[in-house]
């Protein structure tokens, strides 16, 4: 799962009143330094993001093994893709995982942020406890989860009884991975929402308290409306992150049992590396990118409507 810390989108936070536009001459004067400052990012973006993306687009129009392109085939890969039940099934699994994680991750993150914000004395302790799992590398998290979930020697079965092979169980594999993911990554959302909470001026609460507002009313009337833009951003980032799931299912379930937890990126990986079909894998990647972009736009639209 990607951790979108760097791309934390602040545009939806309340903006300070816009300053008057600078005069034309000063724009030109600031142009060169601005370009210089932008250059490292633009270069990296072109070199490592846009370039490979265009290459992937080209690759998706060819028949290619891992290393060799043998023919230009136009849209043939896409034609196959539309009728490929494995692709659609993997997309369904990805959405199911997103469904299992997006709301809990933002919801629990919000509750954690409220707790940290409310209990000032235990603040650093709580914040640490909530955030700590996030610093673990995926290899460690999955290794521990795998031990805990072993059918005959794992602690989970010791606690709940029985011999269920959780990660090989068609009903449980994805939910179990989702639970692990929530525990592991919820700290990031907590931090983001906490920043939002701390941006709410204390005077608003004081004023409301003077008017006699208490408890949940404070949350409903002040906290929630002020936090909503941040919450929306958190939801959106989480949606993208959840759709990009790969590592946890790859390591814990290998996409099993019988591909019921194989997500789209895993399908792409297998197509490229196990089956040496890089051309088709590139088509899977492009199609998935469009799905993610489309979903993101829809989510933004919904957010705009509701605010």
């Amino acid at each position: 799962m990607s951790r979108g810390a760097a791309s934390l989108n602040q545009t939806q936070l309340p903006q300070p009143a816009s300053r008057p536009a600078p005069a034309g001459s000063s724009v030109r004067a600031e142009g060169l330094p601005a370009m210089l400052l932008l250059a490292p990012f633009v270069l990296a973006f072109l070199l490592f993001f846009l370039g490979p993306a265009l290459q992937t687009l080209y690759l998706s129009l060819t028949e290619s093994s891992l290393t060799r392109t043998s023919a230009f085939v136009g849209l043939a890969n896409y034609a196959t893709l539309v009728q490929d039940p494995s692709f659609w099934a993997s997309l369904g699994n990805t959405f199911y995982f997103a469904l299992l994680t997006v709301i809990p991750l933002t919801g629990i993150g919000l509750v954690m942020a409220l707790l940290v914000h409310r209990f000032v004395r235990a603040q650093s302790w709580l914040q640490g406890a909530f955030f700590l799992p996030y610093v673990l590398p995926i290899s460690v998290v999955t290794l521990i989860a795998d031990w805990m979930l072993q059918p005959s020697s794992g602690i989970i079965n010791h606690l709940v009884g029985g011999q269920r092979a959780w990660l090989s169980d068609v009903h449980w594999a994805l939910p179990v991975v989702a639970i692990g993911t929530v525990w592991w990554t919820v700290g990031f959302n907590m931090l983001m929402l906490l920043a939002g909470l701390r941006n709410i001026p204390a005077e608003q609460y004081e004023a409301a308290a003077l008017d006699g507002a208490r408890g949940f009313t404070l949350f409903r009337a002040i906290t929630w409306p002020a936090l909503k833009p941040v919450f929306g951003t958190a939801l959106l980032l989480q949606l993208i992150a959840s759709l990009k799931v790969f590592g946890q299912t790859y390591i814990l379930t290998s996409g099993g049992p019988y591909n019921t937890s194989r997500v789209t990126l895993h399908y792409m990986y297998e197509t490229a590396f196990t089956q040496s079909d890089a051309g088709y894998a590139a088509a899977v990647a492009m199609a998935f990118m469009f799905v993610v972009i489309a979903l993101t736009l829809v989510a933004r639209l919904v957010a705009k409507r509701s605010s």
Binding site: S86, S152, S168
Partner: protein
Amino acid sequence: MVQRRRFVAASALGALGVLPARAQKHRQTPAELRLWTLLSGGDGARMRALIDDFNASQPGVRVVSTTLKWGEPFYTKLITSAVVGAGPDIATVHLSRLPNLAGGGVLRPIGAPELAAAGLKGSDYFPRQWEKSHYGGANYAIPLDLHPLVLYYNKNLARQAGVLDGAGTLKPIVGYEALTAAFKGVRARTGKAGLAMESGQGSYAIWRLWLSLLAQRKAPLIENGQFAYGRAGVEELAKVSAWFTDGYAPAGLDYPASTSQFMGGGAGFMINGVWEVPELVRATKGGTLGFDYGIVPLPRLYQDASVWTDSHAFAIPANEGKPMPPERLRAVLAFMAYVSRHSMGWAEGGHVPAYRPVAESAAARALMPNALYASAAQNVVYDPDGWYMGAAGPVESMASKFMPGALSGQLTPAEALGMFEKEALRLLRKRPPRY
């Protein structure tokens, strides 16, 4: 560069004893050969010991090995590096992957004169393994070993189940009923699992066992580009699944959990490859095993005792655009020949050496516990040839997704094979990739 090449030539030839010692007078740093292996654990340690011995045996060449993660990560790196000329000088490969690697242009053929110059003779290797080292009439690899499936047993539990003879060895087991009865006996008399075998997601054991049973029944896997196992395949998967669904074997164990189950004394039998032998030897020496163990070849359930195997081998990556200088090639082949001649050290890893002068030596015949299953080598079958076959190849990887579903009882054997076939058929129809 030229000087360095000359030096490599001198040292390689020196290593082979071609040049008089005088030529080596000006000792510099020895030429380095890069070796990539997929051997970890005990196999990795034994290979390192062989490499150290080789490096100490001569001054001119130093083999430096890098261990990569077994399976698909290893092969992906080998394939991608070899075709852009950035691969190592030597790589360990599975012979079951040769049609994929040699056919895909990943490996460099080794010519007959080159073999002869290095003193490598086909007749020194078992015919089947030597044949498997060829593709399209050319040699591509020097075989190192065979590592078939075997049947391990816990003597304490087997004795209680009444399946040992007076001498404390397993009474011959012939036929599915007898094997099932042995598992059932352990389960009923001791309360421990009858069989420990990996059966969780991504387990390969069932594919290997299934191939063995198909071969014992003389049922083909693939014919004319179609899966041809038919009813036999479904029946065999159902028979193995019954061990799990009837409760003689715990379902859903991943690989380490399945070996711990047996090593911890929690199972009467274990079906696994010979590569687990060193762990048992070590635990017995250390006094930590807690029981006596025995090993027999996979029992004959049908017409013969065919058993799945694979072989490690050394190969030379093609490294396109960077042809290997003759002197470097000589050093590479000298290393391969050295390891063959010293593969007794490799046999201690449980493997059956492919090099006959070692495999048929008195020392190897007396080596325990290897001698208990040495006869399995006569009945081995490999994955059928095909670019999609072999260790961690696409078909095995697909089988490891669907067959465990039958073992856990979540799919019927027919369903599991139906799903497997639907995905795998696409591969059978595809053109072999040229890397």
